[in-house]
Amino acid sequence: MSKSLRLIVVLTFTALFSGAVLSVLNIYTAPRIELNQNQTLSDAIGQVLPGEKACDVKVIDGVTFYIGRDEKNQPIGVAFLAEGDGFQSRLKILVGMDMALTRILKIKILQQAETPGLGTKIENDPTNKTDAAWFTNQFNDLPVAKAISYVKNQKPVAAESQIQAITGATISSKSVVEIINAAIAKNRELFLKKVK
């Protein structure tokens, strides 16, 4: 066998072997990975729409809305994904709102890689012994007829759509507020126009 033919044969067999191993693996793992992802998403939807028992998916102009229904099949709220840049990472936030999109029910940070110990407090603040999720909990039942704003060193007024920023992580706090404001402004129009 000539030298160059041998190179081709060896590399081809290596690639074939690799392809065969990976295809077999994919048959077994792909359904589980998809199941895990769906499970994560549906868990999160259940958390941001309290009392949700079933969920309809509606895609309007490329934006996916998850409409939650209670046990009597009445719509209780709508959830959507808000995405944007934080201080040093991409933030993905699931926002649950009432059907008129005037009030936030709950939010959940799905993805963030902010500065450990500072920016990560948007999701989990271990220094706050009573409520590690105090930052996201400020959004519970927050009226958003006007845009959300953040305050520092003073008590926020929930009725005025204010929340408290995290000390040492102002940019991360501000990003969360801005990402949610932008998503609400865009989605409110889309959703209210197309759904009845």
Binding site: V10, A15, S18, L25, T29, L118
Partner: protein
């Protein structure tokens, strides 16, 4: 071959101390620095490398006489990448939480120099048994150092070990230990300590 005269157990134990990939050869420091923020991350990364290294060494040692010298690196990389993908997908399917916290560092084992170095320096020149022992020793040595480094960083930086609170509640965490500078500081101190110990032992 000279190598064949070393006793079999030495092929395993050299990776633990004398030729430890992190402390003595300073290979694979990128994942070492990046993932050792918690003990569970450290040990998961170590086990992923163990699987990849042992399987790659086994296959490459089996076919070492068929691989032409000109394409050996390409062949090694394809075989390594196959097992890395197997490890990555398996973790994603069965331990989604671990997969999320290790992020891109599992796929990056493909370019981990420990794995490629063992193929080039050892598995492509030695019989199957010795290659597997060598791979096991190297990856156990790697995993142990990751576990030690990650434990120190997690205990000082977060006050926990494997997620359990072990420092008193009044303890203020040293945030710097879970940030990148803490990784450099601790790795430097670990290497310094191992050099000191080594010098002492050889005396």
């Amino acid at each position: 071959m000279v190598k064949a005269k070393t006793p079999l157990y030495r092929e395993f134990t050299k990776g633990l101390w004398r030729e430890n990939p992190i402390l003595r050869m300073v290979l694979g420091t990128c994942p070492t620095l990046a993932v050792t923020t918690t003990a569970i991350n450290g040990i998961s990364m170590g086990l992923a490398v163990l699987f990849t290294l042992v399987m790659s060494s086994l296959i490459i040692s089996l076919v070492r006489k068929q691989i032409p010298n000109e394409v050996r690196i390409a062949t090694f990389i394809v075989i390594i990448a196959t097992f890395v993908t197997v490890a990555d997908r398996t973790i994603a399917a069965f331990w989604p939480a671990v997969s999320k916290s290790l992020g891109p560092f599992v796929p990056l084992i493909v370019v981990n120099c420990i794995v490629l170095a063992r193929q080039e320096a050892f598995a492509s020149k030695n019989p199957v048994g010795r290659s597997v022992l060598d791979a096991l020793g190297m990856s156990v040595g790697f995993t142990l150092v990751l576990l030690i480094l990650a434990s120190i960083r997690e205990i000082i930086g977060s006050g926990t070990w494997f997620g359990m609170q072990i420092m008193p509640p009044t303890y203020t965490s040293w945030m710097v230990m879970v940030l990148p500078p803490g990784a450099f500081l601790m790795l430097g101190m670990l290497i310094a300590f191992s050099n000191w110990l080594n010098a002492k032992l050889e005396k």
